[in-house]
Assembly symmetry: C2
């Protein structure tokens, strides 16, 4: 007798696909570097030496260069011919453009919600994580919780491509925050507004939530752009001096 394991979906096996799907070393190296950049180990403007990192990670230059390619496409690294790869320094124009896209994407996603008390649990969860982080004074977690909150908002659109896009945008935003150098107060300020937006969503009031979110994004952008110009120049100078 032959027993066929059916792909019924009820088994939840698909969730483990990520464990089965082996990744190439280049992708794993890219993952390591991505984390390092996100956590600020590699600072914006810094150069990533092929030799040093290749030796440190124990991979060949060719493989490492493949990893660099991946991250360059995610706008985390900037590749300059014959000069090497650098952690990107987002310009003010980048910040403005990032928020332009966020307004389009996130607002559209939120606008579409209807009074279905279905799966807003994930959003609520992220809001609560943010609250908890603020309560315990864990500013680092607060920042990431906020990012997750917005990713969940975008996920309301139910589009794989939108999720990927937002993921890249937020990764890029992390670079901006590293330049800002004081993200503590920045994120904390928007905590209560997360609740307001969540309330509207749970009430099925899409347009209302959109209105709040739009104002939210406009304020954040304005604050960011304002605090940015000085810092960016300072960071550039610091890097130039260090190198």
């Amino acid at each position: 007798m032959i027993v066929v394991i059916e792909d019924s979906g009820a088994t939840g096996l698909e969730a483990d696909r990520g464990l089965v799907t082996r990744k190439s070393t280049a992708e794993r190296v890219a993952g390591v570097l991505r984390n390092r950049i996100a956590e600020g180990f590699f600072l914006p403007g810094g150069r990533l030496s092929e030799q040093d990192i290749g030796n440190a990670l124990g991979v060949s230059r060719n493989t490492l260069r493949e990893a660099f390619r991946l991250l360059t496409h995610e706008r985390l690294l900037a590749h300059e011919l014959n000069r090497g790869v650098f952690v990107r320094i987002p310009s003010v124009e980048d910040v403005v453009d990032i928020y332009r896209v966020r307004k389009i994407i996130e607002c559209a996603a939120v606008r579409g919600v209807r009074a279905k008390p279905a799966s807003f649990a994930r959003i609520k969860e992220k809001v609560e994580i943010g609250d908890e982080a603020a309560r315990t004074g864990n500013w680092k977690d607060l920042g990431t919780a906020n990012v997750w909150f917005h990713q969940e908002l975008a996920a309301l659109s139910g589009s794989e491509r939108v999720n990927e896009l937002v993921g890249r945008l937020t990764a890029e935003l992390r670079l901006v925050f590293h330049i800002m150098a004081e993200p503590r107060r920045f994120h904390e300020r928007y905590l209560p507004r997360n609740h307001e937006i969540l309330d509207r969503i749970e009430a099925g009031d899409g347009p209302g939530a959109e209105q709040l979110l739009m104002k939210y994004l406009e304020d954040a952008e304005e604050q960011l752009v304002g605090a940015y110009a000085d810092r960016a120049e300072a960071a550039r100078a610091a890097v130039a001096a260090a190198e």
Copy 2:
């Protein structure tokens, strides 16, 4: 006396930066392959052998693999570990998702137009190119003109990232059209609606244009999805038989 060439921006020198910035061979190779895929030389589902293409183009395997990475990130190629790279076969879910994003992006861009008779010339130009192509029976040009038209619509948002995103989406759509195998009638059908949308835009009626565009995209998606299911399976079978 010392004369300093200032970076005043009025010189327009930055515009020529693209001419100075040389491209790596990997990028040039990627460009060649991208064109080949777009024009249907490499059909969806086909495998791209490292050895063959490397020899044909006179580049090493390492360089070629870098090019493959680039195109994989653009969703034109699919990379399967230890099996090689294949021209992607977009699934029906991909088509639906692509149109989901297009609705969000293009509609948002169009919605924002105001009664500024400023720079709609570029859009009008693309519409006329489409008309001309239809008149002379040049179906291939008609398709690309239509793509350009929508790219111009998206460009109304004024966002570099949006432009890049739609560029990738339309490249992916070209793969879908190659599976469809009869794009002639498909594009022709929507020509008059281009004019309607353009009229609303020129009148500064953003919401009106958005409404038309939304219906346009919904119809196109429906037609595409309908004609797709059969074709996709047939193409898959054909490829399996040929290999």
